[in-house]
Symmetry: C2
Subunit: 346 residues, 2 copies
DNA sequence: CTGAAAGCGCTTACAG
DNA sequence: CTGAAAGCGCTTACAG
């Protein structure tokens, strides 16, 4: 019955009990040494250290979490839109960085704009008793998180704020950034500026659309619904809409595109008509190679690194017991002028 | 002392005990219902179901794992080079997909080509008792994993094979793909083809370099070390080396670049000298927008999606008890002809 | 079919 | 300073 035997096909790993036996001390003493409690006899401590090394003992994180007073699992959950897209991937990476420094592991998940998937993944995270969650939600009602919040799990919202829930959030000012981009085009002389944006049910998409609208209004320009599209979710979709607009009788002289994929599809459309030197374009979100296109792409860029860092720090502060009022951090965006947005109307 | 009370500042979550009390059955019966064991009286089962709903009970994954005979934690570890780069991010996403279908959570980590970080993160994963690991290793000696392997944790290597360890692996044939790319340039008429590659200590980089060498040899061409660089790790580094080569007395007429960032830096260098219509270029790895450059980029593309899927399936097969001999899956690459690789020497 | 007891691998609270 | 007992939230093995 000693744990040195292996009844299973798979060898069992050493436990604290094995360490205690080898070091000829009690379980509790091993626990003390492992957790760096100072009140241990030097000689015993060394025996324990040696036994730990010899057995290559690694404490079972699950068992530790189960028994600890604070029930910390040393894991956090990070739920983003799609970990394969550059925005989500960068955010994840930054959070991972901050977490690893603290010995915390990260459970990651992609929501794909699906409320159902969000619910599933949150449930899964809760079963794992993560210490906190950073989420770019797909859903539009976050009351369901209240229960877990009250159970002590902090949630930090990223990119999109919480709805019907009080929680910290970190994001860019989409409205202002979009207005800035459109105003930039107005200043270059454009009067007929198209908007192509992503799924209008997403808060950030709506804000970008509204930023476009208010910039037009401020410039005294009327909105022409024919050159406004806010339901584009693929590169091809953007390509088609942009092509249609450009081929119309009254084509736009400039585009503001509210999302990465939309920007790419629009570039393709403009390029295919050979109009890349006539039609202006400003895109939301920067991406690798944007500066290698011809003309290079003018964009409003989010400060993705800062968003991730601020969110991670906020989460860890909450986990460490920070109970100050929730905050809504707005991270500044930056207009990067590269050429495509400075083409005057012809 | 009932768990309905909350001595802590943070409310405690309902446990199976609470469910049992509310449903007026034993713990074991609740366990049976939750685990879909069939031998439960219909009426009791319903009482349990109702109690579970009412309390919004979620089983504690850690406690379950601790007690299960097989000790499954329902988590896997995914350790890749850098989750913010498109290759790693796509792989992660695919694995996540396959895992989520099975109710498995994914702990992700970036190794950044650091052996130390690899060791740390593997240790962390082992503490969490992950059921298996998919790893694109930074280290060049994987014996240290033997212990965990024997303890029943399957490892699937991705992108790079295991060294001094027997384990499954899934990757592209870097050597063959590179040779193909270089031969393509030879067939276009090039006799002076430069190689710019990433960190030569990485196995895949070495294979790409060797593929370049053997293609030259097959074509009866001599190697000129001046136009070979295999220690480039940044876009700027590639830019500088390419610029230097192009500015030399005997510049190359074509480039084969062994990695994404290197390709981008080389494009910048060629472009800045205004030679994008004279100098040919084939890159290893495809990327978004490669087809929007002028000329569009010819690349050898890895089938990232298949690599991820095959690795994930292999891991889950192992976790489910597959004990067949280890395999080394080679996923075919594809030469995508777009223009930059078909420019003849001038 | 149902339940009381034991125990997974640890930490806690309490004696000595 | 050290250790024996209890218990975290579950499943297992075993009676009834």
């Amino acid at each position: 019955m000693s744990s040195g035997q292996r009844p299973d096909p798979q060898m069992s790993r050493p436990t604290m009990k094995d360490v205690a036996a080898l070091a000829r001390v009690s379980l509790k003493t091993v626990s003390r040494v492992i957790n760096d409690e100072p009140t241990v006899n030097e000689e015993m401590a060394q025996r324990v250290q040696r036994a730990v090394k010899q057995l290559r003992f690694q404490p079972h994180a699950g068992a530790v979490a189960l028994r600890r007073r604070d029930r910390r699992s040393s894991t956090i959950g990070v739920l983003l839109e799609d970990l394969s897209n550059p925005f989500s991937a960068t955010i994840y990476r930054i959070i991972e960085e901050v977490a690893t420094e603290r010995g915390i592991s990260v459970l990651g998940g992609s929501l794909d704009e699906s409320t159902a998937r969000e619910h599933e993944l949150v449930t899964l995270m809760m079963r794992h008793r993560v210490d906190g969650v950073i989420i770019a939600p797909a859903s539009h009602d976050h009351q369901y998180l209240l229960r877990d919040q009250e159970a002590g799990v902090p949630f930090v919202f990223i990119d999109r704020g919480p709805v019907l829930l009080k929680a910290d959030s970190v994001r860019s000012d989409s409205h202002k950034a979009s207005a800035e981009a459109v105003t930039h085009l107005v200043n270059v002389g454009h009067r007929r500026i198209a908007y192509l944006g992503g799924d209008g049910s997403i808060a950030t998409s709506r804000e970008r659309h509204q930023g476009y609208m208010s910039a037009l209004k401020d410039a005294g320009l009327a909105v022409d619904e024919f050159i406004v599209a806010e339901d584009i979710v693929t590169i091809d979709g953007a390509y088609e809409r942009a092509t249609k607009m450009l081929a119309s009788e009254k084509p736009p002289t400039a585009f503001f595109t509210g999302q990465n994929l939309v920007t790419i599809g629009t570039v393709q459309a403009i390029r295919e008509m050979g109009k890349q030197r006539q039609i202006a374009l400003v895109g939301f979100d920067d991406f690798l190679l944007a500066d290698l296109l011809e003309p290079a792409l003018t964009v409003v860029a989010q400060d993705v690194v800062t968003i991730g860092k601020v969110a991670a720090r906020k989460l860890f502060a909450r986990i460490s017991g920070d109970v100050s009022p929730t905050t809504d951090e707005i991270i500044p965006t930056r207009l990067i002028v590269r050429g495509s947005g400075e083409i005057p109307p012809s």
